[in-house]
Amino acid sequence: MAEPILTLEAVRKVFGKFVAVDDVTLSIGRGEFLTFLGPSGSGKTTTLMMVAGFQSVSGGAMTLDGKPLDPLPAYKRDIGMVFQHYALFPHMTVAGNVAFPLEMRKLDKAQIAKKVRDVLALVGLPDHGERYPKQLSGGQQQRVALARAMVFEPRLLLMDEPLGALDKKLREHMQIEIMRLHRDMGITVLYVTHDQEEALVMSDRIAVFNEGRIEQIGAPSDLYDNPATRFVADFIGESNFIEGRVTGHNNGFAELEGAQTLRGRAEGNLSIGSAAVMAVRPERLHVNRANDGADANRVEGTVTDIVYLGQSRKFIVRVNDQTEMTALVQANVVGLESVTVGSSVSLSWRAEDSKVLGNT
């Protein structure tokens, strides 16, 4: 990672007795795109607000460019922010809004006019300077908010669910816009969303929040292929879970004893005899005829549902009384024509394609 620009060290936020953010430690490299991803109420906004200076920290320390952030009031932090509902000043024109941070920094008039023009062109609104925010569509307002937060070249750009208010098509379009701007301008971005797809598409790294804590932080592919906890495996993408007890552990693989014995990759921190869960992605499962399948892991079951998705099919298989598993099979896989609802099948997968996680 590039040199860190922002670091958080055991940051904590308490409202009364309620711990909203607990022990959050992370650092962001210059030019990086880091996303906070997590369910509603997991502390993403609160953490962002502490970085922006709108919430005090209850514990821990933050640094920006190596200097402690705490003593700086919000208006001296030089951190740009795109608010969830944009917070464009309704009594100023688009150009007035974008010029505002530059006027606060006492740039001269000609310079301000040029920068405003440039940034409005950059976000694709060169002719909208004289309009009022009320006269713009949601997507246009979003761009103005982005322009206003970028125009003063902040050291860090915060975005709290900036696309939450837009419809799906526009959202996907803006995701690409924001990624382009991030790439072209080299800005460091701290982004908040609870949309995992958005996080996977846009981020260099993702910090997964759960109940005020970071469960895992890593590159999208890292989180997807190597989830550290059951929560992450469940929250990012889809996973099948099979519960059991650890019976063996060597060379990065663990043995899990449940209805049958299974093998999967594992971190070193699993102790023999402890409760654990195996996570495996639906697309890693192979569907075979009953008692067939050459992979290391195999379970038998009955098909309860087949869902056609066009380029793929989903097989829902009841493995035992508690467990139903989902297998995703590409349309071009042959040999499953005779499998219908009620068929007995076996599901198999390679040990490398599954992960054994502590079950907490």
Partner: protein
């Protein structure tokens, strides 16, 4: 067709209020208008008197000056009041709203007499100021402009506070945060963002206070001196002391038209109402 019918049906609902306004407002005003041109004889002589005699111009000026000063005073006191109401915790907010409302439940006459008790030479205020050694001899708080303004500002305060309060509660805190985030000091953020967003409330409150103050009567009559006569007092005096209906009507019409003009100008300049900018 049904919509039209519904509209016509609902139109009937305005009727009672319409009749009331017609009977107790439009008719008397029309009658005043006629009388201002016809009493004691037809012609413009009443208006000539109003605009020619220094004493009447002086009263007109007094009226505008007192109403203006009351408006400014109510704004200066009302703004921080409304602000703290909006930002107080819920229970405190209820209490403050209650405090602002209390004066509405007592008659203006009672409140004005209460001010007389407080402001008189050996009243509570003078005793207190002398007690703490701030002044040595009683200050004159009554029968002068000071007395009128103290009384009127207090009475007008709710008319300023509530429009401000209702506008301020609707200002999203994110605007203030955005201003700070973009580098505005608290003072700059207040002047460039918060204050302009309060403008509709400031205009509405100021208009209310100014216009109500223009026609004020009891407070200036009881707390003011001879130099603080307002137009309403003059009208009352002309009618009850001299039976001068023509001149009084002309004064009333001038007051009405002046108020209407001010209202129209403010409306145009600040674009409050449906065609507001924000």
């Amino acid at each position: 067709m049904f919509a039209k019918l519904a509209r016509d049906r609902f139109a009937w609902l305005v009727l009672p209020a319409g009749i009331l306004i017609l009977a107790v407002f439009a008719y008397p005003v029309f009658w005043l208008l006629v009388r201002s041109f016809s009493d004691p004889s037809w012609g413009l002589q009443n208006y000539e008197t109003v605009f020619a005699k220094v004493i009447y111009l002086k009263v007109l000026w007094n009226t505008v000056a007192i109403a203006g000063a009351t408006t400014i005073g109510a704004l200066l006191l009302g703004f921080p009041m409304a602000y703290s109401m909006v930002h107080a915790p819920p229970l405190m907010r209820k209490l403050l709203v209650f405090v602002v409302l209390i004066p509405f439940w007592t008659s203006i006459l009672v409140r004005t007499f209460a001010w007389m008790v407080l402001l008189q030479p050996n009243g509570l205020l003078n005793d207190m100021l002398i007690g703490i050694g701030f002044i040595e001899t009683p200050a004159k708080f009554m029968f002068n402009r000071t007395g009128v303004l103290i009384g009127m500002i207090q009475i007008m305060l709710p008319f300023m506070v509530f429009p401000l309060f209702s506008v301020m509660t609707r200002i999203d805190h994110a605007y203030v945060q955005a201003a700070a985030n973009l580098g505005a000091t608290p003072v700059k953020g207040f002047l460039r963002v918060y204050l302009p967003l309060c403008l509709p409330g400031i205009v509405t409150g100021s208009m209310l206070v100014f216009i109500i103050s223009l026609g004020y009567f009891i407070t200036p009559a009881l707390l003011g001196g001879r130099k603080d006569v307002m137009i309403a007092q003059l009208i009352q005096q002309q009618i009850s002391d001299f039976g001068n209906w023509g001149l009084s009507s002309a004064l009333a019409v001038v007051l009405l038209i002046g108020t209407g003009l001010i209202f129209a100008v403010v409306h145009k300049v600040f674009k409050v109402g449906p065609d507001a900018r924000f």
